[in-house]
């Protein structure tokens, strides 16, 4: 058994795992509050003022708009042409909405005090992935982020699951809004040529990706039955004042059996029962626990810790805070084996570099393009799996090169939208202690020692140690 982490290493490790990376200021905060105090504060984000970053976010005008306002201001090109709107102005294109969402996500990752909360928003956004460029989702994504994911990111899993199931963005993305009973009277009307029967898309993904996991013990018959339960869960006005509603005329009224359980409530309650059944299924506890331990501890989650996290999930009826507390307070969390064992995802890499250097940022398209080139254009994962959370996905040569270019651009203040505080060599030495205190490799140490003053920061940010967390 190798030696345990030093106190300084523990602080850096904690910030590497439950925040978007250490900054000089944040390290002081942990020193003041202690590891447990800092964790408790982070688990209660509602008690933390966060006005500085929220004021910046509030300047992004689409963030407060509803889907109707967004559709009217950023209409699809065809409608814009018909209305004679200035098409030359890209600021009027639906793309602009996604751009502001990306800006807000990165701003918060870098500057929010509620680091763990923002990190969980990112986690759930991938878990309950919606591709923002699919049809009407261009105008539904803002609300999905603001009204569906963010209110529940540290709440109860069941509430989050239900909120996504009833969100216009998810109903549209996974096609459930079109899934109807083939026998429903409305489905037979000539006007309803697009809705004549079951669509399995959501029913499959809700079990495979959102709850039980692919090995969670369901079969094709269960997919079919769950789809029947969710018939009639649809939305009004997808390109306007979009809202969930249950249309009983589209619902399959017959009895269903899901995972061996008879669903007999009828009407909208059928779907609610499925949500409850899935949210409280032991396979779900295990699946969510595994993904969380993978995010916070190691790509190959230690089975004993997964079991304890799953147990915490079950005992707390899916209280996300309780599960997180269990994971972070576990001995496995601070073990030497997992120190610097995770490779940063692109958003983690970019945000951690901006935090470490205390860069003043205006999130610009150039910054966001870098994220895209590293493989993580935010809100734009097309497959329902979202972006992966294992290191092997993020270290291809192209991605590595892009990270190096980002590091050199940022360190030289050549990155439009970010200005680092100090490139002073002494400061770089101090920052190196926030990357890997007493654990910087010989190669990186000598690179920092031998290089010109103007290159040191770039080398630190591009070094293998800083690709890890």
């Amino acid at each position: 058994m190798s030696a345990s982490l030093s106190d300084e290493q523990k602080i850096i490790h904690l910030l590497n795992r439950i925040s978007f990376g250490p900054s000089p200021k944040e390290v002081q905060r942990v020193k003041r509050l202690g590891v447990r105090g800092y964790l408790n504060e982070q688990l209660a984000p509602e008690t933390m003022p966060d006005s500085a970053v929220e004021e910046k976010v509030a300047r992004l005008k689409t963030m407060r708009m509803n889907s109707r306002e967004l559709f009217e201001l950023y209409p699809p090109p065809k409608i814009a042409r018909e209305a004679g709107m200035a098409m030359a102005n890209p600021m009027n294109a639906p793309r602009f909405i996604i751009l502001e969402l990306q800006q807000a996500r990165l701003l918060r990752a870098v500057d929010s005090e509620r680091q763990l909360y923002e990190l969980m928003v990112d986690f759930w956004s991938n878990h309950f992935n919606v591709f923002a460029a699919k049809g009407a989702d261009r105008w539904l994504m803002t609300s999905y982020d603001r009204d569906t994911i963010r209110p529940h990111a540290l709440g109860k899993f069941r509430d989050l699951l239900l909120a996504t199931a009833q969100s216009p963005a998810m109903l549209f993305y996974l096609d459930n809004w079109l899934s109807v009973s083939p026998n429903a009277p409305a489905a037979r009307m000539a006007a309803n040529v697009r809705r004549r029967g079951i669509n399995e898309n959501y029913a499959r993904e809700v079990m495979e990706l959102h709850t039980l996991g692919v090995d969670g013990g369901y079969g094709q018959q269960d997919v079919r039955e769950v789809a029947r339960c969710f018939t009639g869960w649809t939305l009004r006005r997808p390109r306007g004042d979009a809202e969930f509603f249950f249309n009983s005329r589209l619902h399959d009224q017959g009895p269903k059996t899901v995972l061996g359980t008879r669903i007999t409530a009828g009407g909208m309650e059928d779907g609610i029962q499925v949500i409850d059944l899935l949210a409280r299924h032991p396979a779900t506890a295990k699946f969510i626990a595994t993904k969380l331990v993978r995010r916070f501890v190691a790509d190959n989650p230690p089975p004993a810790l997964v079991d304890r996290a799953a147990d915490a999930f079950r005992r707390s009826d899916g209280d996300i805070r309780v599960v997180l507390q269990t994971i972070v307070e576990a001995p496995e969390f601070f073990s030497r084996e997992v120190y610097h064992a995770k490779i940063k995802k692109p958003i983690e890499y970019v945000a951690s570099a901006l935090r470490l250097t205390e860069a003043e940022i205006k999130v610009t398209p150039q910054l966001l393009r870098y994220l895209a080139r590293m493989g993580e254009p935010l809100f734009l994962s097309q497959p329902p799996t979202g972006y992966p959370d294992v290191g092997s996905s993020w270290i291809s040569s192209d991605m590595l090169l892009t990270r190096m270019n980002f590091a050199t651009d940022l360190a030289a203040n050549r990155l439009d939208g970010a200005r680092v505080q100090s490139r002073d060599p002494d400061n770089v030495q101090a920052l190196a202690r926030l990357v890997a205190p007493d654990s910087l490799s010989q190669a990186t140490q000598s690179a920092l020692a031998e290089s010109a003053a103007s290159e040191k920061l770039a080398l630190l940010l591009a070094a293998p140690e800083f690709q890890r967390r």
Binding site: N199, V214, T385, M399, A412, E455, L459
Partner: protein, 405 residues
């Protein structure tokens, strides 16, 4: 004209030599030129589950039209929006018209009712199985293209295996070094002053993952700089978008003779649950991009296609019957394309299992009659020159040759 090893070292090596670095990787990169023309396999993955039944249409199977009242593609004898007859039984989707002349020249083989035998209908699992090459067994650590690279020792070019785009696909993950490249022009460090120090830092890193990654990256960048000016510009019209751009990069690497053996590109957007369309519409748009891309690649490479076989695959086909939203849900067997001058094309291979209810797989999908590994094995042995492919596909017996090459 190819640079000699000496010129190569001279043009790229000054900074490194000044640092007194062991120039092993430089020698390696310089040596790669001798490898010159190699056999190349290009794999195109269609993510999302392509609806093979609407791509190569079994128009003589009477069940097809009954199962798909709103999305079927009209038979070749129809007045308009009709499929392109291939052999009197199958017809090509009209959006794939650019491929017809290649088929007629006998350089496009089609394998129908092919795919992965596992019954999963999960995108993720089904893709994973096809990429690691062991359907039903998830614990396989590497992708089958990587196993090919690992088991063949055709020198040490960093370009032996290249995926275009930022991500390393699962099919290429493994212990053999591979590259990903989004753009040859942009595959360089923007700050050349920091480059030597960065290279040294990575070369000496105690972190094996990043040491290998850095080694490969810097070797590839150095090599590209020496050859990029000599790569002929392409006159072919690739379709706009990532897929076309990716094929264009692959074509340039083939022409550059940098030792490319395995290339990977992907095209997304095949998950047509809603409003799939027939002769026109959503699927047709994807096929248009696919067909134009493949045709441009074929034209661009010209006689260099002699070295190349291009293979397409998708994780599963889709339900034989259309769903309630004029789309299709996740199904089973699919259709694969094998393209190249050495291919015995102009033919649709594979036993047709039929579409009658009693022969549908699990009562709903096209049954599988050709394992995708048979197709891949045949390409690896007959085109790439491997003695046997059982190390690439452990536990799989390919059976007798399909005859596509």
């Amino acid at each position: 004209m190819k640079p000699t090893r000496r010129e190569f070292l001279k043009s790229t090596g000054l900074g490194f030599l000044a640092l007194g670095l062991p120039p092993a990787f430089l020698v390696r990169a310089a040596g790669a030129e001798q490898a010159a023309r190699r056999k190349v396999l290009v794999v195109v993955f269609q993510r999302g589950g392509m609806d093979g039944l609407n791509v190569v249409i079994p128009f003589k199977d009477r069940a097809y039209y009954a199962l798909r009242p709103s999305i079927a593609v009209a038979e070749p004898a129809s007045a308009e929006d009709r499929a392109i007859d291939l052999d009197g039984f199958y017809a090509l989707h009209p959006a794939l018209a650019p491929l017809k002349s290649i088929y007629d020249k006998g350089q496009l083989a089609i394998v129908h009712a092919a795919g992965s035998p596992d019954n999963t209908r999960s995108h993720f699992d089904a893709q994973d199985y096809m990429e690691i090459g062991t359907p039903g067994k998830k614990s396989t650590p590497d992708g089958w293209l990587n196993r090919y690279l690992k088991n063949e020792s055709n020198g040490d070019s960093p370009f032996r295996g290249v995926a275009v785009g930022p991500q390393t696909p699962r099919m290429m993950v493994g212990t053999a070094a591979t590259l990903t490249i989004t753009s040859i022009e942009e595959f360089r460090l923007r700050n050349t002053f920091v480059a030597p120090a960065l290279q040294k830092l990575y070369a000496e890193s105690a972190d094996p993952l990043f040491r290998r990654g850095g080694d490969n990256l810097f070797a590839a960048m150095a090599r590209l700089r020496t050859v990029e000016s000599q790569i002929p510009q392409s006159a072919a019209a690739y379709p706009a978008g990532r897929f076309g751009a990716g094929l264009k990069q692959i074509a340039r690497l083939v022409k550059a003779d940098v030792g490319l053996e395995i290339a990977f590109n992907e095209i997304q957007g095949w998950d047509t649950h809603v409003a799939e369309g027939g002769a026109t519409g959503q699927l047709a748009n994807r096929l248009k991009e696919l067909g134009e891309g493949l045709a441009a690649f074929y034209q661009d490479l010209g006689d260099r296609m002699e070295d190349v076989v291009l293979l397409t695959m998708s994780e599963f086909g889709r339900t034989a019957q259309e769903n309630g939203n004029r789309g299709t849900d996740h199904g089973h067997a699919n259709v694969m394309f094998v393209l190249g001058p050495r291919v015995r094309g102009g033919k649709v291979y594979g036993r047709w299992p039929g579409l009658a209810p009693e022969v549908l797989y699990e009562g709903r999908d096209l049954d599988l009659t050709t394992d995708f590994r048979s197709v891949c094995s045949e390409i690896l042995t007959r085109h790439m020159g491997r003695q046997d492919a059982t190390k690439i596909f452990p536990g799989f017996r390919p059976g007798k040759n399909i005859g596509i090459i």
